[in-house]
Structures are given as C-alpha cells and as structure tokens.
Symmetry: C2
Subunit: 343 residues, 2 copies
C-alpha cells in the first residue's frame, strides 16, 4: 500500500462537506483503493470480473451435490450470458472474462457467444484423496496463466478486478487448502458448498480430513497447492499476484476465491494489500479465511453461489466510494477551513 | 404484499440455474419487490431518491454539532450536485428530487442548478422542548406534501423510491419520535447523530427525555408527530404512504427516514409491506426501529450521513436482484425439470 496516497485520500475525505467519517466503510474503501493504486485520485472506470473454471478429481468421490459435467455446462451458460455472473457483471457495468483452466468437458461455444479463453493445463485434476491433484509444474503453469490473465486485463485498462470461479467439487478443495494453510480443523472450515447436508456433509468433512492426512508431509505452499488443487484456484492466486504487481485492486468473491487469496498471500504476503473482500459467505470457512487475511467484507447478503456474483455486486459500491472522493464538494470549496466544528 | 406474485417470483428464482437459495438476500429482495409491485416480473427501470429538508426548533437548544443555518447550506449543495447524495444518485442511475418542507433560510438556487421543490409549510418547527413543534394542521399538510411527492414521482415512472433527509437537529427529533412511538427509554434510542459525544451526548439524551416528559399527554400518532416534529419526517412518512398506495417499493435510508417509517407504519400498518431497509446505521436507535418494523437491512457499511446516501447505494443491489429474476437462465430453459438434484 502507498501510505502517502492513502493518507492524502483520507485527508481529502475528511475535508468533504459531511460530519467526519460519516460515510463509514465508503470512506475506508476509497482510501484503500487510493493506497493500492498509489494515487490520491484513484479510479474505477473500467472494472472487470475474471472467472476461472476447472474440474476436480475429488468431485468423483461424492463430495458434491452435482456431477462433474455441470462445470462445462455452467461454462456454456457463462458464454451465453445467462448465468448469474453474466447478469450481475452487466448490471455492474463490468467486463466479464471467462477462462477454462481445465474442465473435463470443454464447453461448446456457439458463434456470437462470449469467448471462453483456453488456458487449459489438464482435463481436471486427479483426486487428492488418492494422490496428488496435479504436478508442481502444472500448478506453476496454472498460476502463470492467472498472472497472464491479470496482465491482459490491466493492459486493456482494468482498474478494478473481481474474481469468480466455477468447478464442481471446489468447496472441498478450498476447505482442504484452508485447513492445510491455516492449520485448522477440517470440520471448522468445511460446509454445505452447493448444498450438501446431514450424512453427505459428514462425508465431505471426512473427505477433507482424509485429504489432509494423505498429504500431511506436504511442505510449503506450492506443494500444498499441487497436491490438493485446484487448477482454477491456482490461476486465481496468479490473477491476484498479477494485479497486486500492477497496483490494481482485487475483489475477492466467496470461499473458493478466498482460498486462492490464502495461496497468493502465502506465496507473496504483500499481495494481501491489493485485496478487498466483497462479500461474506455463509460457508463457515469464509470468515476464518477473511480473519486470517485481516479483511472485512464490503457486503454480507448471505450469498453462496460463487461465480463472481458477490464481487460483481460490490463493484458499484467501490466505484461509488471512489466517486465520492473525486466528485463530492469540500469545506475548502466553500471557503471554510474546518472539516467539523469539533475538529 | 401480493402473495401470489411473490410466490410466482420465488418459484421462478428456485428454477434458475444455481443451487437452491444460493443467491441469498438477492433472492428475497427480488421476491419482495415482486410482492410489492404485484407482479412476478418486477422492474427497477426508473429509480428515484427524494430528499426532504426542514429545520428543527430543537436545534437551537444545543443538541447538534452544527448550527441551524447548515440545513440551507446543504440544500445548496444538493442543488449544485456536489453533496454526497448527488454523487451517489448519479452513480446509481437514479433521479434525485429535493424538496424544502421548511428550512429557516431558503436556499439560493443558481440558474442551471437542480431544482429544490418548494413545499414549505413553515420556516422550521418550534422547539418541542418548550411547546408543540407544529400544529396538527401543519403536520397534516407536510404529510400531504409527501404523498403528493410520491404521486409526482410515480406518475413520472418511478418504480423504486429511496428516501433521504436533511435537517440540523433531526436525529434528536427522530429519537424523541422513536422513544414515544415505541415506548423506549430515550437513552436507548439517542446517539451521536452528526457527531456529539461525552457531555454533549448526555445533554442530547436529557433533551429527548425532557421532550418526552413535556408531551407525555400526547395521544395517537398524529399528536406525537405534530408535537415533536419534524416537517421533513412528516413529509417522508407521506412519501411512504403515497408509494405504498401505488405499489412502489420504498428504500429507507438511516435513522431519520426510519423514524418516518415508524410514523407511516402507525398511520397505516400495511405501509410496512412497501418498505425495504437499505442500510444499518451505527446510530443505536436504528436497529431498534428496524426490529420494530421487522426489516433486515440490505447493506451495513457503518454510514451515518443520511441525505439518502444509504438508499442510493442499495439501489444497484435491488436492481441487480430484479435483473437476476428477469434475465438469468433457468433449468427449464435447458430442458431440465429439476431445480436441484436434491429437490
């Protein structure tokens, strides 16, 4: 974070015609974006949401309410613009970019539909229950794809990047990563995901526990990432790293994108400075992740869909915060010196 | 609420291509708007924010951090478009309508600036500490102006109306109204407002307590409203009543607009069905009010500015909820019968 830019933005916000700090989180958001972008006059003129999709070998072990083929079907919905994230990015005035990091059944994209960028590393990971999800080289390739996607977006002018994901089974992968990286009890960070409950939830917790035991000799973040997966999580970590390097704020979405944030944070601790948490998911591990990262969510809204739906909804709030900083009148404009009669 | 329209919207939302209820509050918002508008295909195509402003005699009794003249100065900022609510309504794509219900110093509006509608009932209320804030006839006139403003907006096509207010001293008035209407301890529903603390806050609580004792023989909502004020609170209650009658959802803002909501609710209990709470203010009485009305806020954000700033920020969320209902693909579109493999 650029402390000087943030301090200048905070001083400008204090000088606006309003009681001191009365815009609450909107003020801290504007100051944070100023610190990330390294300017007292930050912008959110060209927001984008990048959705990374891939399949998980673990999905064939009964941890999800949905079969693995749904990942590819959902990608077709992204291409058609009919998925939630398509509607919500359009509402937010944000560009939507979708990348396939390795779904088992690549989507059939009709002419005229939105492009799905081919960043396929392999057709889904192997099951982390019985072996390594991917090789170290594959994990590095997926992260590199993410960094490349960030650079692509930023080179095209993106000044705020939201994250989204799709991958049947990826809450199980995210729970395993979160438990491993934060050394937490699997039961604490494993939840219903797309909708398992009762015995199925108990089986999911047992699966996460088994993954952790299977890979208890994993050493370091890269090893944990390669062994547990997933391809889209690795790519999203790369998107964060690439945006942080370019001083572009990153809006996390729900539990899976925040697992990617944990990976990015462990690979490059300074990358947390570029992160903004969009929403708080009811998935129990999400609050644990955000606390570890020291982030407060902008929104709550009890959303558990992922896809980038929460990140998309937070874009207008961040844009509004920056607009207040840029456009709202100040006491100085009125020829008054003081921000408050009590200042 | 139109239960049939709401049920149809809920069924349509359940049929969207996503895990059941995974869009959380966004789903309940879309269903609520459907119920209010009385259609399974609700719209937020033409949102508006109406700001009512007036002065309060109580402001001359030392309850506010700001002098009374600031109300008129702020109205000039609304006219110039440089106030927070001007920036935020522009961001939200919402029309901003400002009405003067009785500020002490009417604003000087320059040519080319936004209009401030003249709905002046009297040049500020009298102090409720020493007498009645206004007469019953004046309270009725202010409410009628609010109803008229609602009809004006709805006739112009508004399909979502946010509330805003400006009036130095109006958190004291709102605290007195809330304590009186909900029979609560003044200390429980009186807070810092624009920024009083310590001895000044204790004096504010004592003032609210004194207002309640001065008017302990008040009988009924109209009597409480006339004796305690304020003109803009009465008008905002009217806006709610007018919107509810026309089946247009109303976004409450912070503590003062929700005091108006309490008045509307007491005058016409069914009007609560048209209300949506935009934000939760840190002002301690706001949670008390929302609980009494049975409303959950869409946003939190720790904002205490008022003006309609919170209502403006919630507009894109409500619009997005309605867009998901209208535009997102369904399982039926894919030729699938079931909303969920577990359904």
């Amino acid at each position: 974070l650029d402390a000087e830019a943030a301090a200048a933005a905070a001083a400008a916000m204090d000088g606006k015609v309003k009681p001191l700090r009365s815009l609450g989180d909107l003020e801290s958001l504007a100051v944070r974006v100023a610190g990330i972008q390294g300017t007292a006059s930050p912008t959110v003129a060209s927001p984008a949401v990048v959705v990374c999709a891939a399949d998980h070998g673990i999905a064939r072990d009964g941890v999800s309410a949905y079969p693995q083929e749904v990942t590819g079907l959902m990608l077709q919905g992204f291409a058609a613009g009919t998925a939630a994230v398509g509607v919500l990015t359009a509402q937010a005035g944000a560009r939507l970019v979708v990348a396939d990091l390795g779904v088992v059944e690549p989507p059939q994209i009709a002419p005229g539909q939105n492009e799905v960028l081919d960043r396929r590393v392999r057709p889904g990971t192997a099951s982390s229950l019985t072996g390594e999800a991917m090789t170290r080289a594959e994990a590095e390739q997926a992260v590199a794809h993410g960094i490349g996607l960030a650079h692509l977006l930023v080179d095209d002018g993106a000044d705020l990047v939201g994250l989204g994901e799709m991958g049947i089974g990826n809450t199980t992968t995210a729970s395993a990563l979160t438990a491993a990286l934060l050394e937490r009890d699997p039961a604490r960070v494993t939840g219903p995901g797309t909708g398992v409950s009762g015995d199925a939830l108990a089986a999911k917790v047992a699966a996460v526990d088994a993954i952790l035991r299977r890979h208890e000799d994993a050493r370091g973040t890269w090893d944990v990432l390669a062994r547990m997966g997933g391809l889209e999580v690795a790519a999203l970590a790369g998107v964060i790293l690439g945006c942080a390097e370019r001083r572009v704020p990153v809006l996390l979405d729900g539990f899976i994108t925040t697992a990617a944030a944990l990976v990015a944070w462990r690979l490059a601790p300074v990358s947390v400075d570029a992160m903004i948490a969009a929403t708080l998911s009811p998935e129990p591990g999400h609050a644990v992740q955000l606390e570890a990262l020291g982030l407060e969510p902008v929104l709550r809204l009890s959303m558990r869909l992922g896809e980038g739906s929460g990140a998309s909804l937070a874009i207008p709030v961040v844009r509004s915060a920056v607009a207040v900083l840029a456009e709202m009148g100040s006491f100085a404009d009125l020829g008054l010196a003081e921000a408050s009669p009590h200042a």
